[in-house]
């Protein structure tokens, strides 16, 4: 959660309900899975669950990033045309 807050400059603050209902959806959709890998024992908390992206999830992220990149590129071309 700290990372989400850092990445978004504090604009996005996830609440527990939003986080865990979405985690459940992503697990059910096969995009993430509970991970058996644990961090270093000093940093580990036995009560926590850890999740990892599945191969399908990685593909979905890559596809989504590519799709958004296309959108941004299209918008930038459009703005550049407007300025000419």
């Amino acid at each position: 959660m700290a990372e989400v807050a850092t990445q978004t400059g504090g604009r996005v603050r996830l609440a527990p309900g939003t986080l865990y209902t979405n985690l459940k959806r992503l697990v059910a959709g096969g995009l993430i899975a509970e991970s058996e890998e644990r961090p270093d024992p000093e940093r580990d908390d036995q009560r926590r669950r850890y999740y990892r992206l599945t191969p399908v999830g990685q593909q979905v992220v890559a596809d989504e990033v590519a799709r958004m990149s296309d959108l941004v590129a299209g918008a930038q071309t459009w703005i550049a045309d407007l300025k000419r």
């Binding site: 959660m1 527990p16 985690l23 459940k24 059910a28 959709g29």
Partner: protein
């Protein structure tokens, strides 16, 4: 455990039990961490803001979780974009037809004029012929069964909705006419 945490624990009861059992502990810990952050950063104002966010969060996500389908499927579109979509729950036509059994029974009885006794006073209830109240109750049960069928996502719960709601309603309609006719005969 603080009063804030106890209150949040109560809010968690608004989520479906299965969801709570799986994620409840982590949600409580997450809330405790946010509470700790709020206390150390902004005091009362930050705690009030945390509660505002939390209440909104529960108000949005708890009903959604109650209505959520238990399974999700992925849909890959032309290899270029992917989305998660809610699957349609299995609602084969035969389940709906079975669920509507009380309606079929009632319509057949009306068509064959075999349930005339239902619409005659006495006996009466709340100023209406008793039979009308019985029909309304049975069709109401059936309606609840159909709503349950629409919401369900498994064959087992679909069958349960039919057995617990539509089947008793059908039985009630089948026995209502002879029973009311007997009551009317006893009076005369």
């Amino acid at each position: 455990m603080t009063d804030h945490q106890r209150l949040y624990r109560r809010f968690l009861r608004l989520y479906p039990r299965e969801f709570r059992e799986h994620y409840g502990d982590e949600m409580r810990r997450f809330f405790a961490e946010q509470l700790w952050d709020a206390r150390s950063s902004g005091g009362r104002l930050a705690i009030a803001a945390l509660w505002a966010r939390t209440i909104l969060d529960v108000a949005v996500t708890a009903p959604r979780e109650h209505l959520a389908r238990p399974a999700l499927v992925r849909e890959h579109v032309n290899g270029s974009a992917a989305t998660i979509v809610e699957p349609q729950p299995p609602r084969p036509l035969r389940y709906v037809i079975l669920g509507l059994a009380p309606l079929w029974v009632f319509l057949v009885e009306v068509a064959t004029a075999s349930n005339k006794a239902l619409f005659v006073k006495p006996p009466e209830m709340l100023g209406l012929p008793l039979g009308v109240s019985v029909v309304a109750f049975a069709l109401g049960l059936m309606a609840v069964g159909i709503v349950a069928l629409r919401r369900t996502s498994s064959v087992r719960s679909g069958v349960a909705a039919i057995l617990l709601l539509s089947a008793p309603a059908t039985g009630l309609l089948l026995v209502a006419t002879p029973l009311i006719e007997q009551m009317q005969n006893l009076r005369t």
